[in-house]
Amino acid sequence: MTTENERIELRGLTLRIRRAGSGPTLLYLHGFDGAAAAVAVTSRLAQNFRVLVPDHPGMGQSDIPSWLDTIHDFAYFYLDVLDELNLNDVHLVGLDLGGWIALEIAIRSVERLRSVTLIGSAGIHVNGVPKGDLFMRPPDVVLRSMFADPAKADALLAHTPTREEEDTLIKNRFTIARVGWHPPLADLHLAKWLHRIALPVHIIWGDSDRFFPIAYAREFERLLPGARSTTIPECGHAVHIEKPEALAAAVAAFIEEHAR
């Protein structure tokens, strides 16, 4: 499977997009840990789809835009990207931050979309159910909270980041804080408009997610009554790292069955 890197100039910034595979268009919106961390999943998805993986504005190798103030700016920007690349019948797949962006896009317009898949998605807050926090705890504690299998976290922590990786980490944290500091990783107005998403929706969750506990999946199910749900067993929040095979299979199976 060959991966092509593309840079497009749009709204005053350079957006980096990786492309792989062929078939129906799947736009993968990466999570807190960036596009590189999702390769195990996106490369599998590329066996069935034309997969596009942008680095979000202000993350990875995409520039920090001057206009980025809220999560809504991400949503309108990606609607512009869909127009710019003239993409249609797009399957949106988003992990945590990316799931939140997918929902913010879809409540605004489903015109160019075919389905939405959420993986351990951010975007809502369930009162009384404590969720993970990216900023209050030391980075290693935060990382461990993402995994059911401590050995997986240990393996990542054993790696000393290069200077370039350190720079990207600082930049990613800035951008996540920009849109997700307060209220933490949620838009309290999002839940009011989720009924606008007139598309097949798939909610995927690790059964042992300690970052967004399973109660968050239940709340999404309540707010999106037509949605299908898949629980990945023995898996924490980092589904894309802990169970990439099961995740890719679940994503593809849902689209095959409900959104072809």
């Binding site: 920090i64 900023f135 209050m136 705890r137 030391p138 980075p139 200077r163 350190e166 720079d167 600082i170 930049k171 944290r173 800035f174 996540i176 804080a177 920009r178 500091w181 307060h182 209220p183 933490p184």
Partner: protein, 391 residues
Amino acid sequence: MNFFYFHFMPYLHLDPKIRAEYDSCWMVLPNSAYDPKKGHELYNRYLDELELGEELGFDGLCLNEHHSTAYGMMPAPNLICAALARRTKRIKIAILGNATALRDHPLMVAEELAMLDNIMGGRLICGFVRGIGVEYLVWGVNPTFSHERFHESQELIVRAWTATEPFAFEGKHYHVPWVNIWPRPFQEPHPPIWTPTNGSTETVEWAARADHRYRYLQNLSAADACKRYMALYRDVAARNGWEATPAHLGWGCPVYVAETDAIAMREMKPHIENFYNMFFRNPPHRFLPPGYMSLESMRRLAVDKIPVFGPQTIDNLVKHGVVLCGSPETVREQLAHNAKDWGFDTHMGAFHFGTLPHELTVKSLSLFAEHVIPYVRHVNQPSPAHPSAVH
């Protein structure tokens, strides 16, 4: 020289065993560790110690603002200022607080400060701050907007103070259709604005703008950083087309004076080490949340691995010139030397720090007032060529 006296007002009855269970006494230490009866005594002790500053001949008192911490019991410095306003007659009060970026509405700050300036007949100095990183966590305020909100709120406050007709303020973070505060400040055009900082290029750039010329106060820093940032302030001022004088610069540091150098070192040691190691410490991820500093500064910190978070000893603090400690002779020599070498005319001494008891606080204050101030007073006095822009 002008001599200001700074009080942190810490909750010094912290049980070290309870303190040791937490990585910081900010944010995470539960307030069950605070005993209101002891707090009541401390507030009154500290207010007495501050009032003593006027009797002893200091030019000003400094208050600050910190939240959710035993480091200081002063989340609302304007209240402490109000308590001092009518118990003092001459002395200036510099509030190195009002972290406007953390507050909902800058106009409330503008009004409170205008009230205080009126009550005190123009003795107020306003040292606006951004608050420290951890305060953005405890208040849920987004640190990536900290600089924007700091700048915009100050612009609104200064315009609200100086406008004599209602006006509309059209900002990104504050949008007010009809600004018209009552009362307006006593001082014309407004109370002096100071910029206290631990040192940053961004802060120098802000304070040394030609339309600001705010006094830049380098606080709790190593001597070489103090000298470097004060020189940078003069350079930036020159680049902006104006000449900075000692009246635009100040230095803040913990001070302890005793009969001899040896006594001073011995008596200061446990309390200043408690200040740094027990009260000041914060883990890096809470001290520097994303956006609190520019990305460039964050990168530099990450790359240089600057050891700002390790434990401190008095020997190290003295060696790096962070504190003034010694006999009156030692302290006056060091202070006069720094004032001339770095070019500032205002010193801000933290005469209380950590767990320093009342008797030692009063002894050190009195020795400084009697045996240091008169000897250093003449240094960097304004001359006709360089009249003070501040007082």
